[in-house]
């Protein structure tokens, strides 16, 4: 799939970041299109934050090229900073200032004009649902409010690109939901958004997902593409009496290309779910596993995640 360069707002080419002898990002290439909502999905420490920080010009890449809104980040970081908004993983607003003082400050350093700032501040307060709390010290707000305020501060200057690094970590489910509604509204308004998360359900909301693990891009695509194509097969859900025994048996059963435990069931990756069901039942029943039921299911993102990232773990491969 080729995309015209004009439509690309972020291009990342063989990006690397090493901290001493530790490789945090080991050669990653991808593109983000204008107006796209791109999710970075991966376990903690996968390198998601490091990539986002390099995109914001906060960290200098060890190798590779980065362009944000057509600007080379390494050469003109200040040009990039004018065009982006950033919500960092650790809450970074001033807790000893009030809500509106924080907005006023960030409006000022983003260079929002004095004539325009009151309107933008009203918009941000409205969006974050913080109108009634404009004069509350930020340190006294609950975490859900804080995150919405952080987003409010990041969009005061109407950036074309937003980087959100795990914006909902430590936020209760209701607030998370509300936060994602805001993200969707912004995306609908044409803002390009890159958001990292380790919540599967949040990743489902994205246009495309980059699956990142141990500093490498494992897969990239729409949620559907990842679920089907990247999985490389179909799924059978197996219920049976002795789950542990069945797990061991299926690991030595060639048609089962991968087996993973999901709650009280097993998800088994096969080439053709319709054809594989009956032989698998017989195989297990013949070896003393009783009550075996196998049915074809639609894969979830979690299946892909476990398949692609779990299989890279040495302990899971054993």
């Amino acid at each position: 799939m080729t995309v015209a360069a004009a439509e690309l707002t972020i291009t990342v080419d063989r990006l690397q970041k090493r901290f001493g002898r530790f490789t945090a990002v080991g050669g990653v290439s991808f593109e983000v299109r204008r107006g796209e909502l791109m999710g970075f999905l991966g376990p903690n420490g996968a390198g998601k934050s490091t990539i986002i920080r390099m995109l914001c010009g906060l960290l200098r890449p060890s190798a590779g090229e980065l362009r944000v809104d057509g600007v080379d980040v390494a050469r003109h970081p200040e040009d990039v900073r004018r065009r982006i908004g950033y919500v960092s993983q650790r809450f970074s607003l001033y807790q000893d200032l009030t809500v509106s003082e924080n907005l006023g400050f960030f409006g000022g350093i983003y260079g929002v004009g004095r004539d325009r700032l009151p309107q933008r501040m009203r918009y941000a307060l409205d969006m974050a649902g913080l109108k009634a709390r404009a004069d509350t010290l930020v340190g006294e707000l609950a975490s859900g409010w804080k995150q919405r305020l952080a987003l409010g501060c990041a969009i005061l200057h109407e950036p074309r690109i937003l980087f959100l690094d795990e914006p909902t970590s430590g936020v209760d489910p209701m607030s998370r939901r509300r936060f994602w509604d805001l993200i969707h509204d912004l995306a609908a308004g044409g803002v390009t958004i890159v958001v990292s998360t380790h919540h599967m359900d949040e990743a489902e909301y994205c246009n495309r997902i980059a699956l990142i693990d141990r500093g490498l891009l494992v897969a990239i695509g729409t949620p559907d593409e990842l679920k089907h194509r990247s999985l490389g097969g179909e799924l059978l859900r197996v219920e049976c009496g002795s789950l542990g025994r069945a797990l061991e048996l299926l690991r030595d059963y060639p048609p089962a290309r991968d087996v993973a435990v999901f709650g009280r069931t097993l998800h088994v990756l096969v080439d053709d779910a319709a054809a594989a069901g009956a032989p698998l039942r017989d195989y297990l029943a013949g070896r003393g596993v009783d009550g075996v039921r196998a049915e074809r299911i639609d894969p979830t993102l979690e299946d892909t995640f476990v398949r692609l990232i779990g299989s890279r773990r040495p302990e899971a491969a054993a």
């Binding site: 010009g57 960290l59 950033y86 960092s88 400050f105 260079g111």
Partner: protein
């Protein structure tokens, strides 16, 4: 540099100081406390030296001499000793710093027109006080000797011999020879450095410690805008502190002020630029607030109290140390302050000092601005 961003940073910084009780105390209370402590406490004048006497003769002559010691405001007779052994004991216990011993045969020597001697023993653990005390003791004994001489001459029917030469000492600039007048201007420097460098040393490290730096770095604010914005509020606080200190010096300690306020303001502004950027440079280089404030303390208070001529005159230091004082910024400001306060010197006389301060300010400010990297470590 965009004014809008500088103003945003400055306002934010001011709000933070205003809401932080520790910073606020440092900014407003510290000058008052320091002025009181150092102004009342730092007094190099020597008076009321605790003194013991040992009269081994007990004649009218010896009593007359010892009474003169008692009458002097420089000496307080705390004990009358009985034997030589008591002297060491009294000194050891710290009861006295000086002992006057009139030997037996004192009046016989006087009557025989031979030179009589009085022994003065000094505790010189504090050399400065001891040498001053020795001088005062010599003066008391000298006064006694002159009177005796006069009496002898009159008894012999001679006219009093006039003293052949007398030094006519006129004291300029600090007519009362008050050491306070000499010290207080230096205290102003100490307070400004202490408060200025301490407050600024926290300003960047606080952002790192509280996690606000990451977001700040992602914004378009430049490092120069950040520095100017962050130093501006402390510059204003510094000027306010300077006013408090000068007010104390003039109204409470009655230090004479003979110069112009414009010269003073110029010197204070330049000095503030130096100490604030030193604090900022430290803050940029050291990530923790505690570490930064310690180093800032070391870089400001040490040189000012030791190498500025604040209390220890520079021209009496060994040549190597004297050389060192030229490298340290403090001497230029303290010299200027003393000259403005006591001599009334203006820019015409002080331009070398002011120029040195300005050069220092320019260099440190440039270093501080460049030391900041707009990246995460």
């Amino acid at each position: 540099m965009r004014r809008r961003r500088v103003v945003a940073v400055a306002l934010k910084e001011l709000l933070q100081v205003w809401r932080d009780p520790r910073s606020l105390m440092l900014a407003l209370l510290m000058p008052v406390i320091q002025m009181m402590l150092l102004g009342f406490g730092a007094n190099l004048d020597v008076a009321h030296i605790p003194t013991c006497t040992l009269d081994q003769e007990g004649s009218p002559f010896s009593e007359d001499l010892l009474k003169r010691f008692q009458a002097s405001r420089y000496f307080d007779i705390v004990r009358v000793l009985r034997g030589t052994g008591d002297i060491a004991r009294a000194m050891d216990r710290g009861e006295c710093r000086l002992a006057v011993v009139v030997p037996a045969g004192f009046s016989r020597q006087l009557a025989g027109a031979r030179q009589a001697s009085v022994q003065v023993i000094l505790d010189a653990t504090d050399a400065n006080t001891a040498s001053l005390a020795a001088g005062y003791a010599r003066a008391v004994v000298g006064g006694f000797a002159a009177d005796v001489q006069l009496e002898v001459a009159q008894r012999a029917g001679l006219a009093a011999l006039p003293q052949p030469v007398a030094a006519n000492a006129r004291v300029w600039f600090n007519e009362q020879l008050e050491s306070r007048n000499f010290i207080i201007p230096g205290v102003v420097a100490l307070v400004l450095a202490l408060v200025g460098a301490q407050l600024t040393s926290l300003t960047v490290s606080r952002e790192w410690e509280r996690g606000t730096m990451e977001l700040l770095l992602s914004t378009p604010v430049t490092r120069t805008e950040l520095m100017v914005g962050k130093l501006l509020p402390y510059f204003l606080i510094g000027l306010l502190d300077a006013a408090i200190c000068v007010g104390f010096a003039l109204l409470v300690f009655k230090v004479p002020f003979r110069g112009s306020y414009a010269t003073l303001l110029l010197a204070v502004a330049l000095f503030l630029a130096v100490v604030l950027s030193i604090g900022y440079l430290v803050s940029v280089s050291i990530r923790s607030q505690i570490g930064a404030s310690q180093i800032a303390l070391f870089l400001t208070v040490m040189p000012i109290s030791l190498l500025s001529g604040f209390a220890f005159p520079i021209d009496q230091m060994p040549p190597v140390i004297q050389g060192l004082t030229y490298v340290v910024y403090a001497r230029y400001f303290v010299t200027t302050l003393k000259a403005v306060f006591l001599k009334g010197s203006g820019v015409a006389a002080l331009w070398p000092q002011l120029l040195a301060l300005a050069a220092y300010a320019a260099v440190v400010t440039a270093l501080a601005a460049r030391a900041f990297r707009k990246r995460l470590p």
